[in-house]
Subunit: 110 residues, 2 copies
DNA sequence: AATTCATTTCTATATTTCTAGAAATGTATG
DNA sequence: CATACATTTCTAGAAATATAGAAATGAATT
């Protein structure tokens, strides 16, 4: 993971809408922990429509929201999986852990 | 500090050049810790020229570099202080601490 | 006070990112 | 299989950001 990769992650978080999505998913990632051991993908979690309601307040999913989700996925900050007609979203815990590590106190003497 | 503020910080880090500047300053912020108790500003540290050499490899400071430094300052990620002909740069430890906190394990149940 | 040095500001241009609407995709249901 | 539903992709335009060069600023030196 070099500067460019990290920059992609921060850039993804550097938009108010995307940051709200990220924080919403982060706040509701607990109920997801029911998969098999070692399983990375979510089995339950909010759909794109749920995120839309929570984050933009509107019922109607826009292409703009879809674009932001793609950015977050591209940065590997979230994962998405189809479940029937819906897409289910979740935080990517690996990336989150890496960010935690990146800023951890004393990582670079500060 | 709301989403917008945090987004400004992440956006500032979301550019490879700025991220390199940030990491360079983070890596050399130790020698600075010689000021008075409670003092926030740096008393020693790399100049803009130093950053230029390290980060872009060139001797010549560009307006582009200056622009990136302004973005980092605006996000309160770094501080700058004049010392004679030079500007001396340093990490803003408060903001860094806030970021550490933001990602700290278990902050939001993840 | 004129000159030099380090850096910033200004202005224009190139590039990227965001938003919106329409059409397309994949899945479920009648 | 036709239709509805949830979501994405495509395309174009608007807005924001990055880069470059020239001129301006502030501090030190002659």
């Amino acid at each position: 993971m070099d500067h460019k990769d990290n920059a992609v992650i921060f850039k993804a978080l550097g938009d108010p809408t995307r940051l709200r999505i990220f924080e919403f998913l982060r706040s509701c990632c607990c109920p997801v922990a029911v998969g098999e051991v070692g399983e990375v993908r979510p089995v339950i979690g909010p759909t794109v429509g749920d995120i839309c309601c929570t984050v933009t307040g509107s019922e109607k999913i826009t292409s703009s929201l879809s674009f932001h989700l793609k950015e977050l996925r591209n940065a590997e900050l979230i994962t998405m999986e189809r479940r029937g007609k819906n897409m289910i979203c979740a935080i990517n815990r690996e990336t989150l852990a890496r960010l935690t590590d990146y800023f951890k106190d004393g990582d670079s003497c500060c």
